[in-house]
Symmetry: C2
Subunit: 223 residues, 2 copies
DNA sequence: CCTATCACTCGTACTAAGTACGAATGATCA
DNA sequence: TGATCATTCGTACTTAGTACGAGTGATAGG
């Protein structure tokens, strides 16, 4: 049970947050306790409190680090590509840390990395020539979609194409085909088919939204 | 502190879940403890365990009841209107119970009402004449957007138009205008303006997505 | 009418987890 | 060398979920 990793480096809030993310990735967010984290760091619970104000503060730190993982696309990319890149990166990060998705939005105090993330998204939209009101819409819509998608993806049983098909099969068997005909049809005739990938809807959705935004902007300049 | 509501009716899982939702609405999800719930129901903690297997099971019940609140649109409505109606209803429910959004997606065991909700959404899409693969995309995209939007909305400081402007003002003051120019510009020149409403992006986003889906369906090409 | 059953109620207490308090330890600098 | 201060951590308090088993009241069969 105890892992007693020997600590060689000095404790810092950043290092603690990093270790906490490791633990959450490995054992799930519900297994992330102060005691387990201390153990993982080769120290004792109360020691952590000299670097972090409490568990809530720790969660805030973790969230900010998650945002830090989302990379800003290079500025020389065309507007549309840049947005796609950033959204993909965001999704990848959230897939890597599925436990974080409900957390991200339940924290009320925004950290610097969160602000940076938003800022760079807005800057890219600005480069696309969107007027302010449309920019606000674009921002809200894209963010909602990306996080919403990640939210669904995070709770999907298994995201590997095959593993998911298996699960879907079980579900379909448990379903009452009369009570839920569409659900069963979708599952059996589509989801369980080889080559199905839930993730492909991400690209499609993103494309639809970007098309709509460009149409709303009109024939503006691109760069 | 103790509220000691006199209980007149027999305890049932449904009634317990309803009371739990009331409590969560009023005091927040973190204040929903078994003890507080028992108090609210005029009974004792262990009594609840004869009707509900545990707190996890209680949360499952609550989630299913939340889904039950989302109303299916009348079948005679045109396809597009029906989708909009359902999505609006979903959003309204989630705004009414903001604490539930992270919960909804973190539960892995789907209840009957959740299945019903999905089924009716799919049925409406089917009425729209979407072929199966496009239907799957439409479903994933719409759900992601609606829940993602609700997720953001749930964590927004205040959704009343004015209250939010106040908060935005504070935030803008705290911001470093040099570090986050776009964020500040958006906040000051748009969000803080009278008449701004975050929620309006919902309609816009929904419209864009539906336009895109119709376009994809239209001439016969699909994705 | 009496009593056995059973669903329901609840008092007690155990466990896990966050964290307050203050002592011990060790490094830095005058 | 000794004082200061950051860090570490042992102990213990608190809250919350819930296991265990005793009480209690309504109902059904004799």
């Amino acid at each position: 049970m105890s892992e007693q990793v020997v600590r060689k480096v000095r404790l810092t809030p950043e290092r603690i947050a990093t270790a906490a993310i490791e633990l959450a990735d490995r054992d799930g967010i519900e297994a992330l306790t102060i005691r387990a984290l201390a153990d993982h760091l080769g120290t004792k619970p109360m020691t952590l409190y000299h670097h972090v104000a409490g568990k809530e503060a720790l969660l805030d730190l973790m969230v900010d680090r998650i945002f830090a993982e989302m990379e800003a696309p290079p500025e020389d990319l065309p507007w549309r590509e840049a947005i796609i890149r950033r959204c993909q990166s965001t999704r990848e990060v959230l897939v890597r840390h599925p436990w974080s998705v409900p957390l991200l939005e339940s924290r009320s105090t925004p950290g610097p990395e969160l602000l940076r993330h938003h800022e760079s998204m807005l800057a890219t939209l600005d480069r696309g020539g969107l007027p302010l009101p449309l920019m606000a819409h674009a921002y809200a819509i894209l963010d909602s979609f990306v996080f919403g998608f990640a939210l669904e993806e995070a709770t999907l049983p298994a995201q590997g194409g095959e593993g998911m098909a298996d699960v879907a099969e079980e579900i379909a068997a448990a379903f009452d085909a009369e009570a839920y005909p569409q659900l069963v049809r979708l599952t059996v005739d589509h989801v369980m088919q080889p080559g199905y990938s839930f993730g492909s809807s991400f690209e499609v959705g993103l494309g639809i939204i970007l098309d709509g935004l460009e149409a709303a902007r009109g024939p503006g300049a691109d760069a």
